[in-house]
């Protein structure tokens, strides 16, 4: 029993991180109808920027504090992501207004490869350590309930609480600020949003900036766990099954979808792995997504797709 719970909790914690990346997809898809292939590249780019600036800034300015270095690194990386957002709107999206979804998707694929390459040109392609001071040692909780208690990684708990806080902040932002309302308006109807004086271009910059911010947080957490390296942009591929499961247009869907995928992966690995020969973790999410596409193509929380036949 204790082991099962440990597996589930471990899965949920991993799932939170998938959710974070999926959140970036959903934000951009909602607001601009663009399926953003570049989200993974943005995660890598943001993490690289933060890792490098957190190392460079103390050298330039000559101070020791790791906390200050990380904070400054985070701020500079965030500023850079806002510049990326602005450039994407200015040089890519604004020229492709009213183009088909496939065109936009190809454009984001281009952005993805550009960011991958450009990031490594700017920041180098080694594996960088990003130590944001998360305690790594696991703790044992619920000692009295189970024999031996539950072994939980403090790193995971920390990551999950950051993700949770981010989701709450985004929800508040979307629902109780005028800009949030404008974002939702644009997501629902571009033309109508413009007709009430909402500038589309600026909204896109804001959305891509927020997605960049989410990418930075995801990159920071993944990076501190695995090291900042090229494979980060591949972790983002896990976000595809998550958004298919949760629904492309739903923020809660991204969260729940991530949790389900994370938990399912771990459970299948542990309990089905021995029967099927292991390696399930790699493909489980995609097969689950495939099944969902067959049964419920709009995902768990997505808007129902009704087409006139």
């Amino acid at each position: 029993m204790g082991f099962l719970l440990e597996t589930i909790i471990g899965g949920l914690m991993a799932g939170v991180l998938y959710s974070l990346i999926a959140l970036g997809f959903v934000l951009i898809f909602k607001a601009s109808g663009v399926f953003n292939f570049a989200q993974g590249a943005m995660v890598l780019f943001a993490a690289l920027a933060m890792a490098r600036f957190a190392e460079w800034i103390p050298q330039w300015l000559g101070f020791e504090s790791a906390l200050l270095a990380n904070a400054l690194g985070f701020i500079v990386a965030l500023a850079l992501m806002i510049v990326v957002a602005w450039a994407v709107e200015r040089f890519v999206l604004s020229g492709l207004v009213n183009q088909s979804g496939v065109t936009l998707l190809m454009a984001t694929l281009g952005i993805a490869y550009f960011l991958d390459g450009f990031g490594q040109t700017l920041f180098g392609s080694e594996i960088y350590r990003l130590d944001i001071g998360i305690p790594k040692d696991p703790v044992i909780v619920a000692d009295g309930w189970f024999e031996g208690g539950l072994l939980i990684s403090r790193e995971d708990v920390f990551a999950a609480s950051i993700a949770g806080a981010l989701v709450v902040a985004l929800t508040v932002f979307f629902h109780s600020t005028a800009v949030g309302r404008a974002l939702r308006a644009v997501a629902d109807d571009h033309q109508a949003a413009q007709s009430i004086g909402i500038p589309l271009g600026r909204i896109w910059v804001i959305v891509w900036s927020i997605a960049g911010f989410v990418a930075l947080v995801a990159g920071m957490i993944w990076g501190s766990k695995l090291g900042v390296q090229f494979s980060l942009s591949l972790v983002a591929l896990k976000a595809f099954p998550v958004v298919i499961l949760g629904g492309l247009t739903s923020i809660p869907g991204a969260i729940v979808g991530g949790l389900i995928i994370g938990m399912g992966e771990k459970l299948s690995e542990v309990y089905l792995g021995p029967l099927l020969g292991g390696g399930i973790e790699i493909w489980f999410a995609y097969v689950l997504a495939l099944l969902f596409l067959l049964v419920r193509p709009q995902g768990l929380f997505g808007e129902k797709i009704i087409d006139r036949v």
Binding site: R181, A185, D188, A192, S195, I196
Partner: protein, 301 residues
């Protein structure tokens, strides 16, 4: 394009509204509160001067000129494909005509786009509903006031003093619109669950929330039953009377058009074929020909 209810409409419309509705409207800012405002058309608020709009080889609009004077209700009519919606989209800044100029409140519209035109005081509704489906009635109409909000994001998120006061003030205004359009009961209903007629009202409400000087209505009564049309006519006339808002509308229901318009512009195949009072347009040979396809049909109209 049929004259549904044309016989009954004028009387219901001209009758004074109940007192309660009047003072709801009276608190809203208005350039004039006289019920006869629309009979006293003012200076030109919109001047369309010799514009032509082409899509590739298709001539959507050809050398069209007309004026809209402040406080009047002007209808643009014409058969399908005459260029009515293109005309509205030019005024709205969606399209930029290749030739000619459009002047709004004395300022020429050049290289513009819809959100700038909206900020210049032009509200519009859509032929095919374009509401924010996921949001409630209240949120949809609030969105119409978005561009007037000045407080920063941080203040709004935390609901701090000035942001809160601002939100409350705008909310008050929106509540008056909700009362005016008689949709109080659906205030918190997501708009995509409302029946069509009510969605059209919300669309109008969202445009009104902008406090527009010029209101563009693209087929506000399309697909409505007689009762809904009467309600919508009443709202349009009231808005015009109470706030002096200038209205340009596209409508197919000739009964409605003849009843509420001060002036009518008739388009056919992208050209203007008539421009005048309802009486003048009604008797115009060319208009009858455009609508009925030949002089022999003139007798039946």
């Amino acid at each position: 394009m049929n004259g549904v209810a044309s016989g009954t409409l004028p009387r219901t419309l001209v009758e004074p509204q109940p007192e309660a509705e009047r003072d709801v409207a009276a608190v809203m800012p208005s350039t004039t509160s006289s019920a006869t405002a629309r009979r006293r058309a003012g200076a030109p608020i919109l001047v369309v001067d010799d514009i032509s709009l082409r899509f590739g080889g298709v001539k959507a609009l050809q050398r069209i000129s007309f004026e809209v004077r402040e406080h009047e209700i002007l209808s643009i009519i014409g058969p399908n494909g005459a260029g009515k919606s293109s005309m509205l989209n030019c005024i709205n800044g969606v399209y930029t005509p290749q030739e000619g100029s459009i002047t709004l409140c004395g300022r020429p519209l050049r290289r513009t786009n819809p959100h700038k035109v909206a900020r210049m005081g032009v509200g519009r509704t859509f032929q095919n509903l374009a509401l924010f489906g996921g949001m409630t009635v209240l949120q949809n109409i609030m969105a119409g006031r978005n561009f007037r909000m000045k407080c920063g994001i941080a203040l709004q998120a935390l609901r701090l003093g000035p942001a809160n006061r601002e939100e409350v003030a705008h909310r008050e205004f929106v509540e008056r619109i909700i009362d005016f359009l008689e949709i109080q009961a659906w205030r918190n209903t997501p708009v995509d669950r409302l029946p069509y007629g009510l969605q059209k009202r919300v669309d109008l409400g969202r445009a009104l929330a902008m406090e527009p000087r010029l209101l563009l209505l693209d087929e506000p009564m399309a697909g409505m039953n007689v009762e809904e049309k009467q309600d919508m006519c009443r709202f349009v006339l009231d808005v015009n009377d109470e706030f002096g808002t200038t209205v340009v509308l596209i409508e197919h229901d000739m009964g409605v058009v003849m009843d509420i318009s001060d002036r009518i512009v008739v388009l056919d195949y992208g050209r203007k074929i008539a421009d005048g009072s309802p009486e003048e347009v009604r008797g115009n040979e060319e208009v009858l020909r455009a609508y009925l396809g030949g002089a022999e049909a003139a007798g039946s109209a």
